[in-house]
């Protein structure tokens, strides 16, 4: 399904960092085709027939794991889910032992999520197959950034020149890091808004504008991307309380009105309603949250297809 397009040249997808604008656009173009395929009654392709895909999740995840599972199955792969509760990691096996064990089972693609930044890179160096980073600590979550880019491109017709404001817990967010790199590569202006306690040190050097205030941060924004705030971070360590966080950073109708009238709202999920986003905004006409989930499957199919081209065929 790739007539004449530039091809994704790598064996792994470990992060958005290092990908060119053309690499990203190629993946998004392929994903467009899979959006169409996924909307058909017959959703199956044969791209990965006979291949084995392992979803190795060291952190619990429902959405990302099922999205990768559906993507693999629609491409005809045999998909196996391995989550931490059933793995030998709990019995004391190291990450690299796990990698060696899995490698001996000769999978073709491993999808990995791990709580430690850099763990997926480490694992990728120890296996013979392709590796997709499904989130490593606060480092990167490349398929989320790709699905966000696809969602924006389809909703706005372009990405170049748009103002995208990312709000909330930037400090702990791999979604924010991947999106900053991805959106910048595609020509968007990225702004960050959040309490300074939830901003990484020297983040302005990422080529973004930073604001501690929603009014200035959302002024003129085309896209408002809200991030999830983990429960354990909202009771005094980073922000004082849920109600204070919502008062200053929760996206409600009033704060959304600071952005452009046709601004669209995104959230990687799962949402904390009444913490970072009000229900009427989350479910409102400006929300792209459901489209994001749909694009997630298409983008992951595109990534799997791109990696499959680099798998040995003999």
């Amino acid at each position: 399904m790739n007539g004449g397009r530039s091809q994704y040249p790598y064996r792994h997808l470990l992060g958005i960092e290092g990908l060119s604008r053309l690499d990203i656009q190629a993946l998004l173009d392929t994903a467009e085709d899979y959006v169409a395929l996924s909307r058909q009654v017959e959703k199956k392709a044969a791209t990965l027939r006979g291949r084995t895909q392992i979803n190795l999740f060291f952190e619990p995840s429902t959405r990302t794991q099922s999205s990768f599972e559906i993507a693999g199955k629609r491409l005809g792969a045999d998909v196996m889910n391995m989550s931490v509760s059933s793995s030998s990691v709990k019995k004391g096996e190291t990450l690299l032992d796990t990698a060696a064990t899995l490698n001996a089972m000769r999978p073709d693609i491993i999808i990995v999520r791990h709580h430690a930044a850099g763990a997926v890179n480490l694992l990728a160096r120890k296996v013979d197959c392709s590796v997709v980073n499904a989130g490593d600590g606060a480092h990167e979550h490349p398929t989320q950034a790709l699905l966000d880019a696809l969602t924006i491109r389809r909703a706005k017709g372009r990405i170049e020149g748009l103002v995208v404001t990312i709000c909330g817990d930037i400090l702990h967010s791999r979604v924010a890091r991947s999106n900053i790199i991805c959106l910048a590569a595609l020509g968007a202006f990225v702004r960050l808004v959040g309490p300074s306690t939830l901003l990484p040190s020297e983040v302005e050097r990422f080529g973004v504008e930073v604001s501690p205030d929603m009014r200035t941060g959302l002024a003129g924004a085309d896209i408002v991307m809200m991030l999830r705030l983990q429960r354990e971070r909202m009771s005094g360590a980073f922000v004082p309380s849920i109600r204070e966080y919502f008062r200053y950073f929760g996206l409600d109708r009033e704060k959304l009105s600071f952005a452009k009238p046709d601004a669209l709202v995104m959230h990687p999920g799962p949402m904390n309603r009444g913490v970072e986003i009000a229900s009427d905004v989350a479910d409102g006409t400006q929300s792209l949250v459901r489209e994001q989930v749909e694009m997630g499957v298409a983008v992951r199919m595109a990534v799997l297809e791109a990696l499959a081209r680099h798998l040995p065929n003999e």
Binding site: P195, S196, T197, G236
Partner: protein, 450 residues
Amino acid sequence: MSEREFDRAGPPQPVLLANARLVDPQERREFHGGLIVKDGLIAEIGAHLATVSSLDDMREKMRVIDCLGHVVAPGLVDLQAFIGEPGAEHRETLSSASRAAAAGGVTTLVCRPDTHPVIDDPAIVDFVLRRARAASALRIHPSAALTKGLAGREMTEIGLLKEAGAVVFGDGHKSIMNSQLMRRALLYARDRDAIVSHFTQDETLAAEGVMNEGEFASRLGLSGVPKVAETLVLMRDLALVRLTGARYHAALISCAESLEAIRAAKSEGLRVTCGVSINHLTLNESDVGDYRTFFKLSPPLRSETDRRALVEGLSDGVIDAIVSDHDPQDVETKRQPFAESADGAIGLETMLAAGLRLVHSGEIALPCLLAALSSGPANAFRLPPANLAVGSCADLVVFDPDEPWIVDPSTLHSLCKNTPFDEARLQGRVLATLVGGEFVNAVASSLPGL
């Protein structure tokens, strides 16, 4: 609201304070003249209002008071006083504290957050403000805790508390020992444009200490609090202020080394201010004498060298605010062996007269003292300016800087009598105090027209 003692109904008659020595500490100037108060504000000021006899035509339009050449200055602004509401009404109430403050020339005070319950919730800030409106004619501003329950673990709702009316954030007489928390709290406070006021004393170094560490403590057989307990936390805080850009107030410094740290931070351009208690400017460790518990304070009274350094810091403007650190303690908690007695001293009523000791001894000039008692503290906490400019609030004190008196605790208005100036000979007496143009204290027949 049965405690309402000050009737604010109806606009008061304009008042002319004539024949006064007007001292405007903000402008560092003083001159002989008069001042007209109208609608709660300073309406006119000038040398032409000096002579009472030439002002007879004024008497029809306003109340004329002959100040007999005594001082008229902005009312005192006290950034640190403990008021027992809510939870310790036996020690002090908003009403009793206000009477003591008015008698001492204090027109604005910031109350400490370490009440029961702690002022760490917007609803309690609201409660204190409502109670203050009902029970006091003074301007009372609550401070709020920086950490929930003063536990030093989680930061409070700085934004919501500030919106409710808290003017500053700190943990009372407790230091936040967790540097990570302090860093984040300073950073968060900067976002919300809030001032952090911190008591700096390393609790592990202070440990069981009850007075200044040194020869006196050793001779008395008491454990000492070393000065480094203060400077260590202060210097950490200043490093964190440099990192975060927060606005920071060192609530109570007590020694020369702390003063130098503040001086350096200010010259570096950090947004730093500091306060020192009236006790640390006028007393020293030797006053503890024979285990006198009214001199047991936190931080402890330091050496005479430290006291002199602090007075010098007052002269050259490094110290922004003199505070009363008013801390009423009842008899039971003070009539104990020294080490077991409570810390603290009352001070609202004697702060000005005690401060005048420094003027009478020639250590500092009067405008300089008054700056640290009014305009300096007001600026440090971003309260309305305390000056004698036309249009400013008529929060004023009229005092005779020379009148001698002996402190008789039984006549003090505070509910507790733990004053270190018990039976002290002081010079300088408040004759009248005005808040928003209204008299909240007036010594009968001390001035013609009063």
